[in-house]
Assembly symmetry: C3
């Protein structure tokens, strides 16, 4: 079984998009039962993270912290001007793994899965696949 693609449209230069529901829908579509869902970003200026999605202020604070911690102005050598986005992509990582139990994403009470745009707005996508436990 090949990976499933989820299309994402970001609307700001830096933005976290909650994709928890789309991932859950894909898991159901695959017919996954017990195992691990791997979600992967094929982009080098965006990442993925699992964090609180109950209060949008949490995502805002993470974006704001990273914006200041990885400054636009440094002696960057990559000519495209988006080096901060590449750095942030590596700090958060290109994939997340979430346990699946009886066909449902097994997340904590406050957790959601975020696509982390650092060089938008753009049309983006993530890929996901499922690997079963015995």
């Amino acid at each position: 079984m090949g990976p499933v693609t989820i299309d994402i449209k970001t609307s700001a230069h830096e933005e976290f998009v909650d994709i928890t529901e789309q991932v859950q829908d894909a898991i159901a579509q695959i017919g996954a039962v017990d195992g691990v869902c791997t979600i992967f970003s094929p982009h080098t200026t965006a990442g993925l993270t699992v964090n609180e999605h109950a209060d949008p202020a949490v995502a805002h604070d993470i974006i704001s912290f990273l914006h200041d911690a990885v400054p636009a102005h440094r002696p960057w050598t990559h000519a495209e001007g988006n080096s901060p986005a590449h750095v942030k992509a590596s700090l958060l990582g290109s994939s997340v793994a979430v346990i699946v139990e009886r066909g449902r994403l097994h997340l904590g009470t406050w957790q959601g899965i975020f696509f982390c745009e650092f060089d938008g707005p753009r049309s983006r996508r993530v890929w996901l696949t499922f690997t079963p436990s015995p």
Copy 2:
């Protein structure tokens, strides 16, 4: 097979708890042979990492660095006052993957698996599951 839960009691506001042995015990309990163990934190103010557990000074230095790098006082918008813990959780990540070979965690000589508390002390837990190689 559903995930296994490991209960953790943290005793400080910021603390790394070495859970390597509990993970190894869970792997044995599952009857895992060859594959990947995925360990997941269902909390949004704690993370997981693999690093040196021979010298406790390493964990101390990582905690201390993050404490200064993600300051308590910033124009945080999340009202609970624990935004630094959310940021650190995303920087380290909500899961780690460790290869299992012949029923044993396949770790480097100095490596251990740490639960990374950033907003304790609290009762915490991690979930883990095993996905086999062919």
Copy 3:
């Protein structure tokens, strides 16, 4: 099936080594079809990341940013003097997961897999294993 080892020789104190081809070769050797490749660093002063490998300036900028963000001189307590390398290993992480489709690493156009040396030069290695999708 046990993990495959890829040997790496780093040539600088801080260096990203593109291991995409060696990982692809290992995937072919294993006979992997559809699933997830987990690549793991058994070292505590090196990490792994997926980022742009078309322009080497991107890796250069990530290394340079981390070099300044995690300074050599701080009240580090770990006596070996390589605490910054331990911190960077945890910030990037000890493993990456890449989806495999029909025996090929399913990466974005500009993505490559990097071994991230932070305390070299040294002889290093990574382990990888494959877990299949249904």
